[in-house]
């Protein structure tokens, strides 16, 4: 099942690179989970066609404030348009994929 999906996903967005930013709060459990979940999703669905920046809000609070981050963990898809935001530890893979525009059929 997983390989089949991988093929589907790899078909369309292969040329475009997905740029994302994940805001986390240090080593908080949800933040650690979010990093793991996101990396798994990217490996499986985006291969190398993504750029992920992880911002630790505890270290860069001003930047997070300026970016309008509210809760952690929180994922922002910056490009391609439309941009999207996902909050939570990203344990619900399908909603993450939907937000990132990685599902072919709604």
């Amino acid at each position: 099942m997983a390989p089949k999906r991988s093929k589907q996903a790899a078909k369309s967005p292969v040329t475009t690179v997905v740029v994302m930013r994940l805001y986390v709060a240090g080593r908080a459990p949800n933040s650690v989970k979010a990093i793991a979940n996101l990396e798994a999703i990217c490996r499986e669905h985006l291969k190398d066609a993504y750029k992920l920046e992880i911002v630790d809000v505890c270290e860069h609070p001003r930047r997070a404030l300026d970016d309008g981050v509210l809760v952690t963990p929180s994922l922002a898809k910056l490009s391609p348009k439309p941009s999207a935001n996902v909050i939570g530890n990203l344990s619900d893979t399908s909603s993450v994929l939907a937000a990132l525009g990685l599902t072919s059929v709604p």
Binding site: Y23, V24, A25, G26, A28, N30, S31, K33, A34, N37, V57, C58, P61, R62, A64, L65, G68, V69, L70, V71, T72, P73, S74, A84, N85, V86, I87, G88, N89, L90, S91, D92, S95, V96, A98, A99
Partner: protein, 598 residues
């Protein structure tokens, strides 16, 4: 300035919200969390923001507001209605607003927490040196957390963070009416967790919304229990605090004229300075005219005066008073007189009181008129109107304002007012105006029902209204009934004619008596004369008798000697001589000589 807390180690921070700092005995618990809960539109957010503004402005303690529900633009727009100057405070870095609205575009995937947000707030707190923080609409955030456990965990996280950061905080949370699926266990937990809970409530009372707040919990501190009405004025929210609990002891003996000499006289010289006088009466009994006279005389004395009229504009009030010779316009221009006209159909009584209180603070009147206070009871909630009537009078007393308050009484029952507003018991004087219908006329009557601390007339007077103004007439009471109007006139005329008649009767009587006296005196004189005559007659009679006795013997002897005859002949002789004598004396004066000669 802060009131001493019941326990010295327990500190409070003043909110600057008028009334609230009093009922909370000094504000919110410092460095602790206060939960503010209530339905939508009850004033939670205003309370929280105003506390921040007060702290940032008045007490120079910077604060942060985290807005979960409203966006910052909306908050600024709402705050623009008050004189808070939010943009200036933000510019001075006394306030920081964090837009924490989660847009509907946010996709939720799995559990999250507030760790990141708190880290950001911590940075901001250090930057501006914040002492206060408000989380406005925490319920919006909590609704995104799926399990009760997660909610509880984040509340704990928040509490721990606030305690660690030594922030005085307010968390506002919406509560809907029970039974709509709200997870009330959550709020129970929150109430347990925080140190102070303030509940807001908005109810419709007879078609007018009435907002109230209640402190339902204050850990480690005393507070004034019960619900307190609140309203919004130019400075923001104001809570109707009961004010000083002790009655001021100052009692003046200075008299203030009512502007109506007749009434002053009835009151024993006027109203006491700082007293409240209630004038009750049916429509059209000249309540406003009396109140206007009072206001005019106060202005003439140069005393600042506030004229509060309900349901009638100041312009109209002045025009109506002009028609009875009371001129307030010039005092209005000079600034001595200020007028406030409130509508009672849309604004709840509480708000009027708060506006009046604000006017008192600004204008600082020495004399005041409220006309008519009963209007606030007519459309609004009666229970609160009552409380307001009382509080208004207490407020005036606290400010040492001499006040005349009118109240409309519908119908003929003069005690109706007492049951409606129940202010007659706390007013110092109570003047009752009424119509007495008698003999097909309505006439105005004035009675002083009570006047504390002074002797006063107990008489019912007739109030006569003319182009020359007001006048009080003595009234006639006849057979236990007070006579007025034409009846009074008739009675006056009747009395006058009766007086004339009785005067005439009196004269008549006097003359009769004089006659009787004269008659008796005359009779006495006559009798006296008669008596004297009789006495004289008696005396004469006695004398002749004696003389006869004495002379008869000698006379006879002489006669005998002269005649030498006997006694029988001589006895006839003196008779003859005497008759001849009498005949002679009847003629002219010569008769005597003749007798002598003979």
């Amino acid at each position: 300035m802060p009131k001493t807390a019941p326990r010295p180690q327990f500190l409070k921070s003043l909110t600057g919200i008028r009334g609230f700092d009093e009922i909370s005995l000094g504000g919110l618990p410092r460095n602790r969390t206060t939960l503010v809960m209530g339905g939508p539109g009850t004033g939670k957010s205003v309370f929280a923001l105003q506390s921040l503004v007060g702290a940032a402005g008045k007490y120079k303690q910077p604060g942060i507001l985290v807005a979960f529900e409203e966006n910052i633009e909306a908050i600024f727009a709402n705050a623009a209605a008050f004189d808070w100057k939010l943009p200036a405070l933000v510019k001075k870095k006394r306030l920081y607003f964090m837009n924490a609205q989660l847009s509907p575009a946010f996709v939720s995937s799995g559990d999250f927490d507030l760790g990141g947000m708190l880290a950001m707030l911590e940075a901001k707190q250090m930057e501006i040196g914040a002492k206060w923080v408000v989380f406005d609409g925490i319920d919006v955030l909590l609704s995104l957390l799926r399990t009760p456990r997660a909610k509880m965990r984040e509340i704990y996280r928040l509490r721990d963070w606030l305690t660690r950061r030594e922030l005085t905080s307010i968390i506002t949370s919406k509560i809907e009416a029970a039974g709509d699926g709200t997870d009330t266990s959550n709020y129970g937990f929150m109430q347990f967790m925080v140190d102070c809970v303030v509940r807001f409530d908005r109810r419709m009372e007879q078609g007018i919304p009435v907002r109230r707040l209640e402190i339902s919990k204050y850990r480690g501190s005393n507070f004034a229990p019960g619900e307190y009405p609140l309203s919004f004025g130019p400075h923001g929210m104001e809570v109707a605090s009961p004010g000083p609990t002790d009655v001021p002891q100052h009692a003046s003996t200075e008299r203030v004229s009512t502007g109506f000499p007749g009434l002053d006289e009835m009151l024993g010289g006027g109203l006491f300075r700082g007293s409240s006088t209630l004038i009750t009466g049916a429509p059209g009994t000249s309540k406003t005219t009396l109140a206007g006279l009072f206001a005019e005389s106060a202005c003439k004395r140069g005393e600042r005066t506030l004229f509060v009229s309900f349901d009638e504009g100041g312009e109209r009030v002045r025009r109506n008073l002009r028609s009875v010779g009371i001129h307030l316009d010039s005092h209005m221009k000079s600034g001595l007189l200020q007028m406030y006209s409130g509508r009672t159909d849309a604004v709840n009584p509480e708000e009027h009181l708060i506006r009046i209180a604000a006017l008192i603070a600004e204008h600082k009147p020495r004399c005041m008129v409220v006309d008519p206070l009963s209007a606030i009871a007519r459309t609004g909630a009666l229970s609160s109107a009552r409380a307001i009537g009382n509080r208004l009078i207490y407020k005036l007393r606290d400010h040492y304002i001499t006040a005349v308050i009118t109240a409309l009484v519908e119908g003929q029952n003069p005690s109706a007012e007492a049951t409606e507003l129940q202010i007659s018991t706390i007013a110092d004087s109570w003047i009752q105006l009424s119509y007495l219908v008698c003999g097909g006329e309505r006439n105005r009557a004035l009675t002083i029902v009570k006047s504390r601390g002074t002797g006063h007339s107990n008489q019912v007077r007739e109030l006569v209204l003319s182009d020359n103004g007001l006048a009080l007439s003595e009234v006639y009471s006849s057979g236990g009934e007070v006579l007025m109007g034409t009846l009074r006139w008739e009675k006056e005329a009747e009395d006058k004619s009766r007086a004339l008649v009785s005067e005439a009767e009196f004269g008549q009587k006097r003359r009769e008596l004089q006659f009787a006296e004269a008659d008796t005196t005359a009779r006495i004189t006559a009798l006296q004369l008669d008596l004297e005559r009789q006495r004289a007659a008696l005396a004469l009679n006695t004398r002749t008798d004696v003389a006869r006795d004495l002379t008869s013997g000698a006379h006879q002897t002489e006669v005998r000697r002269l005649r030498g005859g006997n006694g029988v002949r001589e006895a006839a002789e003196p008779g003859k001589r005497r008759s001849a004598n009498v005949a002679k004396s009847r003629g002219n004066g010569n008769g005597r000589e003749r007798v002598r000669g003979s």
